[in-house]
């Protein structure tokens, strides 16, 4: 090993290509992973790839690329597949085409600027990125946000979960041939984005949830808008039930396709709807509560078989649960401040700047120097629409994060693709990718 360690940085980069290789050129452990046989079973040795192999002629397989410019790969996911006719033998996701070094960027931005960076990661669920970053900063600062800020965060996150899942229903429909669903899904998402725009000023990349609270209070008449959403969405979900759930072609495309067992899902680090569809009742909102999720009632939707159909059902019903939570938030939204009134953490109100020299100084200091976070490190996790979204934050006491790492649910969930695709048809691969629901901004960061 000492020889290896002495190699220069340049030499370190020649570890090899990222692509899927021919079987002969692939190491046994790597082959096992590509075959999806990586799970160490509770009794007995690691699954032998030979056990789950098919009959195929070695010289009749071919390795093809799917993506990164494929319309059904939800962005720039590139998948290399070894095919025997139409059957997938091995697969390997190749990612990084959208990598923009956001974790490095985070080290250059002050804590109060950090939200604008993280919100661009999972662009279908921006509030969750902001939330997890803000929670991590607040934990290092050891501050508690006011009740109203917590409930506003919860409201926006649940609405965001609805918009993300509705968007997923739309693209999933399009992927398996139900093009009509694409239009309906976008229509419903529009409702939610319009509300987001009213509250935050932007349809995406809000930077609304910030360390210390939220950027602004809810606008007048927000209750009516949210009530309208709570009225419309459940009715539309019933319509989806009739155009998708009851439709034989849709059922054929989803049922029994790409199953993933619960134990395998846990071993692969899979979280979110994929894990719940595999029959594991794990939801951070219920099992490791944050914000005020302990105080609201909702059910954790669990599947049984873990196929595409279960993942569809879990997401569809999670929208219903989110609407249920939003209804409770409507009734119980506390009055009070929407952010901490600490001059060192949050800017003074605009009106105070004109009349108070002190407020002006605080405002100036906050936006030029930022806020300083005590030395420490922490890991915070929230349940995003795609699974466990985590933020590992290390601070050296300055006004910028020393290291900010985002545990992206899409990134980790992609590891489950190989076992799910194996042995299926290439047409089913499209349905499976779709139900993993990867957001490539989240994967590549």
């Amino acid at each position: 090993m000492s020889q290896q360690s002495k190699r220069s940085l340049v030499a370190e980069t020649s570890e090899g290509a990222q692509e899927l290789h021919l079987r002969d050129d692939t190491r046994a452990a790597e082959l096992r992973r590509e075959l999806g046989g990586v799970l160490r079973l509770p009794e007995g040795p690691t699954l032998d790839p030979g056990d789950i192999d098919f009959e195929f002629q070695e010289d009749e397989t071919m390795i093809i690329n799917m993506g990164p410019q494929h319309p059904s790969t939800h962005g720039v996911l590139r998948l290399m597949l070894e095919l025997d006719g139409e059957t997938v033998l091995r697969s390997k996701p190749i990612i990084g085409y959208l990598h923009t070094g956001m974790e490095k960027t985070a080290e250059e931005l002050m804590y109060i600027q950090g939200g604008t960076n993280v919100t661009r990661m999972d662009y279908l669920a921006p509030f969750f990125n902001e939330l997890v970053f803000s929670l991590a900063v607040e934990r290092l600062l050891d501050v508690e946000v006011p009740g109203r800020a917590t409930w506003i965060r919860m409201l926006m996150c649940e609405l965001n979960r609805v918009s993300s899942h509705v968007m997923w229903l739309a693209t999933n429909g399009a992927d398996v041939g139900a093009i009509g669903m694409l239009l309906y899904g976008w229509r419903e998402r529009e409702l939610l984005l319009a509300f987001f725009e009213k509250v935050t000023g932007l349809r995406m990349n809000h930077n609304f949830i910030r360390p210390g609270g939220v950027a602004a209070d809810l606008p007048d008449g927000w209750r009516d808008d949210v009530r309208a959403i709570c009225d419309v969405i459940p009715r539309r979900l019933d319509e989806y039930d009739s155009i998708l759930t009851g439709q034989p072609i849709f059922q054929e495309r989803q049922q029994g396709v790409g199953p993933l067992g619960g134990e395998q899902a846990i071993a692969l680090g899979v979280t979110g709807p994929l894990l719940r569809a595999a029959g594991v009742p794990w939801d951070l909102r219920r099992d490791m509560p944050y914000l005020a999720y302990e105080e609201v009632e909702f059910d954790v939707i669990v599947g049984t078989y873990g196929d595409c159909w279960d993942r569809y059902a879990v997401r569809l019903n999670e929208v219903r649960e989110s609407i249920r939570i939003i209804g409770q938030i409507l009734d119980r939204m506390p009055a009070g401040d929407y952010r901490i009134q600490d001059k060192k953490l949050t800017p003074p109100p605009r009106s105070r700047i004109d009349e108070s020299m002190e407020a002006l100084i605080h405002h100036f200091k906050l936006f030029t120097e930022g806020l300083k976070v005590p030395v420490g490190e922490t890991y915070v996790a929230v349940e995003s629409p795609r699974g466990e979204l985590g933020c590992y934050l290390a601070s050296d006491g300055s006004n910028k994060p020393y290291r900010m790492h985002i545990r992206a649910p899409s990134f980790v969930n992609l590891q489950a693709l190989a076992p799910m695709l194996r042995g299926g048809f290439i047409a089913d691969a499209v349905a499976v990718i779709s139900t993993v629901d990867p957001v490539l901004g989240d994967v590549d960061r």
């Binding site: 290509a17 452990a29 099992d287 466990e388 050296d396 545990r407």
Partner: protein
């Protein structure tokens, strides 16, 4: 709860708590970081500790990331743990007990190598590749230790602190006239 460190929280008698040995988990110091349990270890005892934690019922490797402490070497570490340049932070999750524990491994600059966790938690595979790609920690016996986010011919590891931040030079010129 098989770990001896869990008893650290009920320190009702302060004098007795001071006399008690420092909390440990499988022989490594256990500290409290903002309410989270963190175990510190060095690269040599890493795999043994992780194997023991896996046997303790931590079913999922929730997160794995590497940190380069080049410019923040004086961070607080428990007694007996020598600060090294790199650190790998692994967050383990027990679904049955609703518990988390974080392991912080010190990885020396001269030999930035730790064993892979692939055999314990196959789900750590992509995260280890990411840590290798961005910080340059080598995971021994990893099935496919190649770059994952950066292009494969990329030189260096961008999240190291001695890696320069790229800048696009901006040249300010007089703006062209309208006509």
């Amino acid at each position: 709860m098989s770990d001896p460190g869990a008893g650290a929280s009920n320190s009702d008698d302060e004098a007795a708590a001071a006399a008690e040995p420092r909390p440990e988990l499988h022989g490594w110091p256990l500290v409290d970081s903002h309410g989270q349990r963190v175990v510190h270890c060095d690269a040599g005892g890493y795999l043994e500790l992780m194997t023991a934690l896996e046997a303790d019922g931590y079913e999922m490797c929730a997160d794995l990331c590497a940190v380069d402490y080049l410019t923040h070497a004086g961070r607080a570490l428990p007694e007996g743990i020598g600060a090294e340049r790199f650190e790998v932070a692994v967050d383990l999750l027990s679904l049955s007990r609703h518990e988390r524990v974080r392991v912080r491994v010190q990885v020396p600059e001269a030999e930035p190598e730790v064993p892979t966790l692939f055999d314990l938690w196959p789900g750590s595979e992509a995260m280890e590749r990411e840590a290798y790609d961005l910080v340059g920690i080598r995971f021994l016996d990893h099935p496919d230790l190649t770059r994952i986010l950066m292009p494969e011919e990329w030189e260096g590891h961008p999240l190291r602190k001695d890696y320069a931040v790229g800048r696009i030079p901006v040249q300010f010129k007089e703006s062209p006239s309208a006509r």
